[in-house]
Amino acid sequence: MIKTDFTDSEVERYARHIILKDVGIEGQLKLLNSKVLIVGAGGLGSPAALYLAAAGVGTIGVADGDVVDLSNLQRQIIHSTKDIGILKTKSAKQKMQELNPDIKIITYDTYLNASNILDIVKDYDFVIDGADNFATKFLINDACVLANKAFSHGGILRFIAQTMTIVPNVSACYACVFDSPPPVDSVPTCSSAGVLGSIAGVLGSIQATEAIKYITGVGNLLTDKLLIADLASMDFDKIKFKKNPQCRVCGENGIKHLSGYEQRTCEA
């Protein structure tokens, strides 16, 4: 059912959006009628899920096959100590629903792969990549290109965060910039190199902001640009990219169907 009006409690809950020029009544109604999928209820997915729930995104999907571990809690702030051992999707849904009981949360208690991702992604307007491994990041890119869904890529390591927004067929995709996953063990992972927990909050919040901007049409998206933030030096740099006409995924002879990538997990 498409919402065209607000209840009294919605006016109060979303007052600061409603009074905000450029978001306003129309923007808040767009948010209430929108659907965002969050892949990974971890470091990036936690703040993204909380801010999107708070913003009143009407339907939020959360996909993760993992359970909460004590070592996650340093950065995965949607989960609490009492949640250790339960599914991350269940823990996340509970917090999001407590924050905003008016929205719908759909959980997928599974890791996404080449055979299930398209069927899930097709129901959403925007996807947030909060995955902890390159295989899933490239898979999200490929699925979003095929399904023509905009998404926010995000990655964190040590003190560094990087993100870009992809609008398929319009802007450069993840493979235009990185082509394919790096060789196994050529790149350190969060579990081998560590990550400052709070940078997950910075980046996940930026990703949520991109989702909100895409839905409401506010501002300029991080398309054709890779934002690299070094939180140790507080240097924020944007590197410009162009869509590659020969891109393996979105180019003229790009992919027509999905195939998986070699999986290598990292506790992001």
């Binding site: 607000f6 006016v11 109060e12 979303y14 007052a15 600061r16 409603i18 009074i19 020029k21 306003g24 009544i25």
Partner: protein
């Protein structure tokens, strides 16, 4: 052209402005909204915010009880 009256006394900032925006959105250009609001931050902030949205404040009258009635033209 029509005129409607709303009483947003007792509703704190910025909820009163959010409600005012919603009422104004439902009106036609040229319609008049007579709005009762509180003294203090409401009368200090709300008329300016309404003007920034492109509407006209035709009058502001202090009521005997300390509240205000502002007349807005969309």
């Amino acid at each position: 052209m029509s005129k409607i009256i709303k009483d947003f006394r007792g509703i704190k900032c910025p909820i009163n402005f959010a409600k005012t925006k919603l009422v104004l959105a439902s009106l036609e250009d040229g319609d008049i909204l007579e709005l009762f609001i509180d003294d203090g931050s409401a009368i200090k902030n709300l008329p300016g915010s309404v003007e920034k949205e492109g509407h006209k404040i035709l009058s502001r009258e202090e009521q005997g009880d300390g509240s205000w009635c502002i007349t807005i033209e969309k």
